[in-house]
Amino acid sequence: MATLVSRSTRSGRAPGPSAGTIMSGVLRYALLIILGLLFLLPFYLIVRNGLAAEREITSPNWTFFPSTLHFENIQELLNDPEVPFIDGMINSTVIALLQTLGQILISALAGYGLARIPYRWANQVFFAILVTLMIPSAVIFVPTYVIVSYLGWVSTLQGLIVPGVFSGFTTFLFRQFFLGFPRDLEDAGRVDGLGYWGVFWRVVVPNSYGIIAALSVITFIASWNAFLWPLVVGQDASAWTVQVVLSNFLNAQVLNLHELFVGATIGILPLVIIFFILQRYIVEGYKQSGIKG
């Protein structure tokens, strides 16, 4: 009965959205626009302060738009002998690229081996990998640092890169993906005389670009933005990443705000560009993984 009644009242309504629906729609967009501006504000502040004169950052009569843009702030930062900014950018680029490449390659291989190769102890090996998922690498930074300093890798690129390329988590995600990979495709490759390696490189990898791109891009972002490990291992200024350079600058006694902020602007630029080009994969990567830990 109730069903019938509600149906008849619904059909009795005038077609088209009611005034209430329009109102709530307008309110929703208004709220979204306000929140959106709030979320974008910090980005604006980085760029605004980076291109403003020092007195326009520290004036009590703060204005939203600086009166003139000082692009020479960039030159000033790059020429500042106290701040190894260019070295930091180079270190960050090298580390993030090699760490991403290494982690994806090693994890994809291991994930495929675990998903497909019938080995007696595969389950035990998989368990040893799962154990590593319980303990985030940040929690054991002291133990890892002890080993890295034993190897003599403090303040070296290998010390910054290598411990980060072995990820049980990325391997786990690849394994899950390969378990669902269509076997027919692999069998077709096998009929053509390919072994496991051949099938992996010629059949599986070319058909897995989506997940490879998704996990690569979130690994790259995590690597570029990493702070704790680069801080611990990069003890000489020559091994600082851009995050460590900016952190040191932030905590220095003499502060030069326009220089700090122009550094921040340049430091985030690569990621903003990547974000706009590869956003689809980033969203996919985070959906798969939750959060990189």
């Binding site: 109730a2 950052i57 009590p60 495929y112 929690v139 391997t171 933005n225 985030i268 830990g293």
Partner: protein, 322 residues
């Protein structure tokens, strides 16, 4: 019965064949072993060197005196652990983590769900707004700390928040970060993390929302449910249970590892106001070079996180086949 009638010649022939096939199987399985390790070997080798050995080494060091050296210099038994558990600063860092989690977890859950519902409810420009809220995930904690500390929550009159307070309400500036009472620094620390991570959790919730079949809502409306609170309470929220639990657990684990924003915002003399476990451990191990004591701390934190993970596994039915 056939075996009884087989001649010895037949028997030896079949034995030979059997041996051959055993050899073949063995060779094939040896091949499989080699191929398996050529795929999985690099990862396992790396995990042994950079995960298992460090933990064991640290475990050993935690029973030793090791200052400015990474090899044991005299055994001290459980002294490091006893000292760490009686260390007022260490206990305080665990309290700091608890307070932080109590602030950040509920606010993240509520705000991420709210954002997801809001973004999911519109048709026009949905992708645009999703990108806007997701964009901060490209930003590092260090950069966000710079903006929060030096611009938005700068304690001088020129800080943005103080500027707004003064120009809108004529109020005096607040030392957001360095005032112990009231503890405004929590507002700084919680908002910076919210800004950075809401986008990711929003995405998880939107993915959960889009998995809810439309027919459920239609059926509920047909049954006389009103759009809004009623359908949210009875359909949306129960079906987002898994997404909510995932967001909650990820959040707690991430808060436990908090380091970057505390290190950069609460630096210098403000560190004592809010120092989470990893920052304290950093001070012991890296500044004081006390690796025995630092190792004991790392092992205690590892045990805490493992217990938490196992409880959560129980909770989520980890290992249960579904």
């Amino acid at each position: 019965m056939k075996s009884l009638t087989t001649t010895s010649a037949e028997m030896s022939a079949s034995r030979e064949e059997a041996q051959k096939s055993v050899k073949k199987v063995r060779r094939r399985s040896l091949n499989t072993v080699l191929i398996f390790w050529s795929f999985v070997g690099p990862l396992i080798l790396g995990l042994i060197v950079f995960f298992y050995i460090p933990i064991i080494w640290s475990f050993v060091l935690s029973f030793a005196h090791a200052r400015a050296t990474i090899t044991p210099a005299g055994w001290v038994g459980l002294a490091n652990y006893r000292a760490m558990l009686n260390d007022h600063e260490f206990i305080k860092s665990l309290v700091t983590f608890t307070i932080f989690a109590a602030f950040i977890v509920p606010t993240t859950l509520a705000c991420a769900l709210g954002l997801a519902l809001l973004v999911n409810s519109i048709k026009l420009a949905q992708g645009f707004f999703r990108s806007v809220f997701f964009l901060p995930t490209a930003c590092s904690y260090v950069l966000a700390s710079i903006v929060w500390k030096m611009s938005i929550f700068n304690g001088s009159a020129y800080g943005l928040a103080n500027n707004v307070r003064y120009h809108l309400f004529g109020l005096d500036p607040i030392a957001w970060i360095s005032s112990p009472n009231p503890p405004w620094y929590w507002l700084v620390l919680v908002t910076v993390r919210l800004w950075l991570q809401l986008g990711i959790y929003m995405i998880i919730f939107i993915a959960g929302l889009q998995e809810i079949p439309r027919e459920l809502y239609e059926a509920a409306l047909v049954d006389g449910a009103r759009r809004g609170w009623q359908t949210f309470r009875n359909i949306t929220f129960p079906l987002l249970r898994n997404a909510s639990i995932a967001v909650l657990l990820l959040n707690v684990i991430a808060a436990f590892q908090a380091f970057d924003e505390f290190f950069n915002i609460m630096s210098g003399g403000n560190q004592i106001l809010a120092r989470p476990p990893l920052v304290y451990l950093y001070n012991i191990a890296l500044s004081d070079q006390n690796y025995g004591y630092g190792s004991a701390g790392a092992i205690i934190l590892t045990i805490i996180i493992v217990i938490f993970t196992l409880i959560q596994g129980r909770f989520l039915g980890f290992g249960r086949s579904d």
